[in-house]
């Protein structure tokens, strides 16, 4: 099976600004793919190129096996898009908007529409001008998720939703994935991406700096270990001798360190030899992975390494 999205060396410039600078992105058919990067890294520009709204300056873009710039209409029949900043026609109600978008698509499942309206607790009789940001986003989500499509392009789809609706969103996306749909999910809510995505791509200044499954990415990075020890000072000396143990710190009888995956065995051996009273070890969260890619920028912002 071909990949749902295959982008190679994508370049897009706006005047003198290089928004995308040789971006690679592969989304396999049927997976939920997290697309991460801070504001201005090029996430939305990528999505807009994928939608055929912007023309790529260089590089190859294949979406569902087609070229989104040349053949947008046929491809759009097979995908749905949820923007982060939803603007609607002020004089239409939410219900009218959902049905209009469905009609322009060529029909959507009315049962599914009603079910989604209920689950997202959307009042469809309100005119769009009176909706809050979150409610406008729900309109776009219902319209997209009620459509029978292969691919969902979501650009920060939950930025205005409350935590309860965020949970509903996660459930609905899991159902979509279970039905075999492909989802490209760009988001700042890293816990959400961690909960949903099988693979992630982290981009920076228009380039992908890291891509793979969460396990792959975790394997490349360090596990944080905190242990209460009978002989913390002795453990410190031993730990300093292990190449893969970093940032060793001792507070009274507690040792904190970050360990590379290959060094974990040796680290745990040292700890065991110094009288373990308590231990926690947690793999890096997606947030840790993300911030690691941006550690130099964090440093210039005056934020210490995590």
């Amino acid at each position: 099976m071909t990949d749902a999205i295959a982008v190679r060396g994508l370049v897009k410039t706006f005047g003198r600004r290089r928004a995308l600078d040789g971006l690679d992105l592969t989304v396999r058919t049927g997976e939920v793919h997290g697309f991460l990067g801070p504001n201005g890294a090029g996430k939305s520009t990528t999505v807009r190129v994928l939608l055929g709204l912007l023309r790529a300056d260089a590089g190859d873009v294949a979406l569902l096996g087609g070229d989104p710039w040349r053949d947008p209409v046929a491809l759009h029949r097979r995908l749905a898009y949820v923007p982060g900043d939803v603007t609607l026609w002020p004089q239409l109600t939410g219900g009218e908007t959902i049905d209009l978008l469905g009609r322009l698509r060529g029909g959507l499942d009315p049962r599914r529409r009603d079910e989604l309206v209920e689950r997202f607790e959307l009042d469809p009789r309100v005119r769009a001008r009176a909706y809050s940001k979150g409610n406008r986003q729900k309109v776009a989500l219902v319209a997209a998720l009620a459509a029978d499509v292969e691919l969902l392009l979501m650009d920060e789809p939950t930025s205005g939703l409350d935590p309860l609706m965020g949970a509903v969103f996660q459930e609905v996306v899991r159902e979509a994935a279970a039905e075999g749909r492909t989802v490209l999910l760009s988001s700042h809510v890293l816990a959400e991406v961690e909960a949903l995505a099988a693979r992630v791509t982290i981009i920076r200044r228009g380039r992908a700096v890291s891509t793979g499954t969460l396990d792959d990415l975790r394997g490349l990075t360090r596990t944080t270990v905190v242990a209460g020890l009978a002989d913390a000072a002795g453990a410190r000396t031993a730990l300093d001798g292990i190449a893969g143990a970093h940032h060793v710190r001792v507070d009274d009888d507690r040792v904190t360190l970050a360990a590379d995956a290959p060094a974990l065995d040796a680290v745990l051996g040292v700890l065991a030899a110094h009288g373990v009273r308590s231990v926690t070890a947690h793999p890096p969260t997606l947030e840790d992975l993300f911030l690691r890619e941006y550690s130099d920028e964090l440093a210039t912002l005056g934020v210490g390494e995590r």
Partner: protein, 545 residues
């Protein structure tokens, strides 16, 4: 903001903290003026430039007392009066009297429109898109945004006035009269601006505010037209219901009286006071007219349905304006004929009376067609506004091609503008047929109106081409609309060939001239090329937002 304030105060002295409902007005005013400086400059140059060229043109065309007397006789006709003024100084027509009578209202109307747009932009748009919420969370008084918006509008109107006065002072006109003329133009705009500020408190949307303000301009123009036809020299009560009527009652260069501007000042002050009361009574982000819940199910039928729903109000409002104007002109037909018959000297100037009617109606038909073209420009402008707001993306991310997206909106605008012109021709013809007791006028004037449709489509084509090819300059279509209007009404005053780019100059001037099928086909082809270029352009370019 705070840093600016503290930097400006002397070291060691704390600037007094602003308080009260007007706190922060000064800073908001500076911000508004900064944002608007180019818009205001373009309006000022356009108005002052048109005035200067027109006055010089009039002076050249009507150099001798005999010419002026003939012009006075022509302009005294009811049909001309409706589009000019109350006719002060017609017995001894001078360049000044002519400028005040014939140009005055055409300077006041554009400045008033500028004021309406500025009020909606300053008072309602920031509240609608949420900017005002941010501003009001600062130490800024409740009335400050309204006060700053109105002061900014007034400053812009005054800036136009200053440049207009400077332009008039370069001509041979009496400086005192010019000062009064400019003051009356400024006064009318300020009255309309204050009335729009009241409208801005009633509605939630900048668009509705705009529509209400422009309706005030339209009604005020019609009131003074009816009044001036009924009673020359401001003797009709109708004229005294209109801000333009008050301004024209000053009679610059002839009676030179300032007191009618007292009425304008009182009306503006009353409107501002009313707006201030209303702004205290409502919540941020709301209007006094409430939103009602709508249907939970959609009945909007696809792209055509959406476009119609978006354009409905605009089509009906512009359509009503176009058709009513045409009806008014039609009803005045008998007055034109009677007038030409009673003034045999005019036939020297205009040919036989039958042709005089034809010539006058040829001018009116173009005037109505320019209005229809202005509607077409707003319709295509709405597509660009949707693109910038991101609403177009919602549609274009669906299986909807760009050509279909823009084409539907252009096609609907073309249909609506054509319908407007045909209805306008029918109503104008019916009015003329009734008052002249000549049923053949219906067919003649319907044909004349239909003959201008290719020109209206060229305006539509220019709007489409700009959106497709140079979207950032899509507002330039308004310069083109203003150009076709100016050369349509004042071609005789302008250098030869100045109207070469107006489609109406290339179509036969009907009903006076026979229908020129070749010209109609050629102009329609130009319109089709422009629309085609626009549709092709929008398919090839990046979309904004």
């Amino acid at each position: 903001m705070t840093t600016t304030a503290s930097r400006r105060s002397a070291p060691g002295r704390v600037a007094p903290a602003p308080h009260g409902p007007l706190a922060g007005t000064g800073r908001l005013l500076r911000l508004a003026l900064r944002a608007d400086r180019w818009t205001a400059a373009v309006w000022a140059v356009a108005v002052a430039g048109t005035a200067q060229v027109s006055v010089v043109g009039l002076a050249g065309l009507y150099a001798t007392p005999a010419d002026l007397a003939a012009r006075a006789a022509l302009i005294a006709s009811p049909a001309a009066t409706a589009l000019a003024g109350p006719g002060y100084g017609l017995d001894d027509y001078t360049l000044g009297a002519m400028t005040a009578n014939e140009l005055g209202v055409w300077l006041a109307v554009p400045v008033a429109i500028m004021a309406v747009l500025a009020v909606a932009r300053h008072l309602r748009a920031p509240e609608e898109d949420g900017r005002l919420e941010l501003v009001r969370s600062q130490p800024v008084g409740r009335a400050a945004p309204v006060a700053a918006g109105l002061l900014a509008t007034a400053s812009e109107v005054l800036a136009v006035g200053v440049l207009l006065l400077a332009a008039l002072l370069t001509t041979e006109l009496d400086p005192a009269g010019s000062a009064l003329l400019v003051a009356s133009v400024v006064a009318a705009a300020l009255v309309v601006a204050a009335a729009t500020a009241v409208a801005a408190q009633l509605t939630t949307h900048a668009r509705t505010t705009n529509a209400l303000g422009l309706a005030v301009v339209g009604v005020a123009f019609v009131l003074r037209a009816v009044g001036d036809v009924h009673g020359p020299r401001s003797t009709s009560a109708w004229s005294w219901l209109s801000p333009f009527g008050w301004s024209q009652a000053t009679a610059p260069y002839t009676l030179d009286r300032w007191w009618p501007l007292g009425v304008s000042a009182a009306a503006a002050a009353a409107s501002v006071a009313l707006a201030a009361v209303l702004v205290r009574r409502r919540d941020l982000g709301t209007g006094l007219l409430p939103d009602r819940p709508g249907p939970a199910r959609g009945r909007v039928g696809g792209l055509v349905g959406l476009t119609w729903r978006r354009q409905r109000t605009s089509v009906l409002a512009w359509g009503a304006g176009v058709v009513l104007t045409a009806g008014l002109v039609g009803v005045l037909a008998s007055a034109v004929v009677r007038f030409v018959r009673d003034e045999p000297s005019l036939s020297v100037l205009l040919g036989d009376p039958g042709d005089a009617v034809a010539a006058v109606f040829g001018l009116y038909v173009v005037f109505v067609a320019v209005l229809a073209g202005a509607y077409a420009a707003t319709a295509v402008g709405a597509a660009r506004a949707d693109e910038r707001a991101g609403r177009a993306t919602a549609v274009l991310a669906l299986p909807v091609g760009r050509v279909r997206w823009l084409g539907t909106q252009v096609a609907l605008a073309a249909g609506a503008a054509t319908t407007m012109m045909l209805l306008a021709g029918l109503v104008m013809g019916a009015g003329a047929a009734l008052t002249l007791d000549d049923a053949s006028q219906v067919g003649r004037l319907l044909g004349a109106a239909a003959g201008t449709v290719p020109g209206v489509l060229v305006v539509l084509g220019v709007a489409t081409a700009l959106v497709g090819l140079v979207p950032r300059a899509s507002g330039a279509v308004w310069s083109y609309v203003a150009y076709t209007g100016t050369v349509g009404m004042f071609a005789a005053l302008l250098p030869a060939g100045a109207d070469a780019l107006s489609p109406f100059a290339h179509l036969a001037s009907r009903p006076g001239e026979p229908f020129d099928a070749g010209a109609a086909v050629a102009v329609t082809a130009v319109a089709a090329l422009l629309v085609g270029a626009g549709l092709l352009g929008v398919r090839r370019r990046d979309l904004d937002a």
